[in-house]
């Protein structure tokens, strides 16, 4: 009945059908090994997408995600490899910087009343530029603590591995879901995205919420950067180019309205998994190239935006029918 959940159901259905179709063609894809890899390979994307979900729910957008991931990776590599800082301390420094960075963008967006896309665009340039200032080389990270974290996994029945970073992504998603639906902050995010003016009149602290949202996106991009650095064991300034688009796509395919106010963090998880399934299928197929991912994601993006547009149109029609011009 509720049309708001419809995109979420559509996503879930697409995800199941896609996976079933893959399994039908390549039965080997039905294994915990593939499932485990799906989580591991997309861990950084998923973590960043949680932050992006909050940003888009509030009616904004964050284009700096990919650059912040690369920045974090390079920063960690420089701190650990060049300066011998313990990874845990390096993690803390990186998260602090990215959170402050996000909060700064949020403050500019709110107080200067500038469109989020142009502010986060500047953020994207800045973060990517800072990578290059630190180094233009790919710096490997070779530290026993990294090796320890990378070696952590839970063996699933059937031989699959639930790695530390895969698990971390799941935890972030769970925390994200709880925050979205069971915290005051979460309700404020939906309120700001639903109607900023109403939210303000109803006493929602819009300034604090906006800054908080971008700070959170910065923090999660930083965390995604840490995960990415664990995943690749290196820091490289040209890493994670275009990841912001992948995360936005995951959020929209997950059923979140790009205009804000409606959506589910859980949907984003499915959006990430759908992208992962497409990539896995391409790997299994062997003849298809990876660029099919972009086209399929583009088509899905269009379908979901069109679906949302139709739903909005229908509900508008219903409202005018009752209110009568």
């Amino acid at each position: 009945m509720n049309t708001r959940v419809l995109p979420l159901y559509a996503t879930l259905l697409i995800c199941i059908i896609a996976y079933a179709a893959c399994v039908f063609q390549f039965p080997a894809m039905f294994s915990t090994r593939v499932a485990g890899n799906l989580l591991t390979d997309n861990a950084f994307l998923g973590i960043a997408a949680v932050g992006m979900t909050f940003v888009i729910l509030s009616g904004g957008i964050d284009l700096s995600v990919g650059s912040v991931i690369a920045f974090t990776g390079v920063l960690l590599a420089v701190l650990i490899t060049r300066y011998g800082v313990h990874p845990l301390i390096a993690f803390a420094i990186a998260l602090l910087i990215t959170t402050v960075f996000g909060a700064g963008m949020g403050a500019i967006i709110h107080y200067l009343e500038v469109p989020a896309f142009i502010v986060t665009l500047a953020g994207m340039f800045l973060a990517r530029g800072l990578c290059f200032v630190m180094t233009t080389d790919s710096i490997p990270i070779d530290h026993e603590f990294y090796a320890m974290l990378q070696g952590l996994f839970y063996r699933l029945p059937g031989g699959g591995r639930l790695t530390f970073i895969g698990l971390l992504m799941m935890v972030v998603f769970i925390i994200g879901i709880v925050m979205a639906h069971f915290s005051k902050f979460g309700s404020y995010v939906y309120a700001v995205g639903g109607n900023r003016t109403s939210a303000e009149l109803m006493g929602v602290p819009v300034a604090r919420t906006t800054i908080g949202i971008y700070a959170m996106s910065g923090f999660l991009s930083g965390l995604a950067g840490i995960v990415f650095s664990l995943y690749t064991s290196a820091g490289y300034s040209l890493a994670a180019v275009g990841v912001e688009l992948d995360t936005i796509a995951a959020v929209v395919i997950g059923g979140t309205l790009l205009t804000g106010g409606v959506g589910y963090v859980a949907g984003t998880f499915i959006g990430v998994i759908i992208q992962g399934i497409i990539q896995t299928y391409i790997v299994f197929d062997g003849t298809l190239s990876s660029w099919w991912t972009k086209i399929v994601v583009g088509v899905l993006l269009f379908s979901f935006i069109a679906l949302q547009r139709i739903l909005v149109f229908l509900s508008l029609k219903r409202t005018t029918a009752t209110s009568g011009g």
Partner: protein, 338 residues
């Protein structure tokens, strides 16, 4: 539009001064900066280089100016460049004659622009959302055309557009200058300039005045698509190949930046194509300056970020009576904040 009178010159002063400052800094970093010499019938020199390398962004900025003036934005131009470059390269390798190749590549850009325009004008999607679709899918389409590889070609007719010269002037500069002249002439000789500004400032009132704003929006996005395709051809011709992954990467952002540096507001309305082109030259002069002073080219990004921040700050403080006020009026906050 901006007649070349003193008023227009005063308005352009910040941009002109910045350009002069950047050029001067370049001169300090590289004393031979202003030297221009004629070699093998073609002009060479750092200054020529700035214009030559800046040409694709100038062309993009011309189309982007119209889009931004209509209160929109086109995020897909980089991807459209990749598509047109890929098509041009692939068709050349398949042996099609150069004129057909050029027309096909431009046609692809037109189609992309029409797609964006239909979504924005007739489906009422926000421009940033509508063009995001092609931004994501476009590179995939480009790779579909090149089948994932970097297609290189040796057709002198096509390469001429990237590295050739006419009357001593490198082709990219010539093409950009021609398009610039053409665009300015169209804006001045037809009513399009007035009508675009009108729908950018107040689309509802423009419709009440009997303006077909939907069709106009469609044409604007289509034009932007064609500009992107043209820039894509030049870049492909320059590197003698099409790299679907990297051709035009981030150039949509450079184009938007050029328009903003040129003084057109992101909230639509008054625009000047010439100033946007100047903005593109400023950006390229910065790029070249960084190269000349021996820094890695990527340092630019920080500089660009700072430029955006400075412009945003300047705009929001100078136009308190402008859009910031208009937006505040709908929210009670403007009055609440004391």
């Amino acid at each position: 539009m901006s007649r070349l009178n003193t008023a227009a010159l005063t308005k352009a002063m910040p941009q002109l001064l910045s350009l002069m400052l950047i050029l001067f800094l370049n001169y300090l970093a590289f004393p031979g900066f202003f030297e221009i010499r004629l070699q093998d019938g073609r002009l060479f020199g750092s200054l020529i280089d700035v214009l030559n390398r800046g040409a694709p962004v100038i062309i993009l900025a011309i189309g982007m100016t119209a889009v931004i003036a209509s209160r929109g934005v086109d995020l897909s131009v980089g991807a459209v460049m990749a598509i047109s470059g890929a098509l041009a390269a692939t068709m050349t390798v398949s042996g099609y004659p150069v004129p057909i190749v050029i027309l096909a590549a431009l046609g692809a850009g037109l189609l992309c622009g029409l797609w964006n325009g239909i979504l924005v004008a007739y489906f009422d999607l926000q421009p940033i959302v509508a063009t995001l679709i092609l931004m994501v899918a476009g590179r995939g389409i480009a790779q579909l055309i090149t089948e994932g590889s970097i297609v290189t070609f040796n057709e002198p007719g096509l390469i001429f557009f990237g590295t050739g010269s006419f009357a001593g002037i490198p082709m990219p500069i010539l093409i950009a200058a021609l398009l610039l002249t053409l665009a300015i002439a169209v804006v001045r000789r037809t009513a399009l300039g007035l009508l675009i500004e009108s729908i950018g400032i107040n689309r509802s009132a423009s419709s009440y005045a009997g303006l077909n704003s939907k069709l106009l929006l469609l044409v604007i996005y289509a034009f932007c698509g064609v500009c992107a395709a043209l820039a894509g051809i030049i870049i492909a011709a320059d590197i003698r190949g099409a790299d679907a992954n990297n051709a035009g990467l981030w150039l949509e952002l450079d184009a938007i930046l050029a328009v903003v540096v040129g003084g057109t507001s992101l909230f639509g309305g008054r625009f000047s194509i010439l100033m946007s082109a100047l903005g593109a030259v400023i950006i390229q002069a910065m790029n070249t300056g960084i190269l000349l002073s021996g820094f890695p080219p990527e340092y630019n990004l920080i500089l660009k970020a700072l430029v955006i921040i400075v412009i945003l700050l300047a705009q929001s403080f100078s136009s308190l009576g402008g859009w910031a006020f208009l937006k505040g009026e709908f929210r009670s906050k403007g009055a609440n904040r004391q």
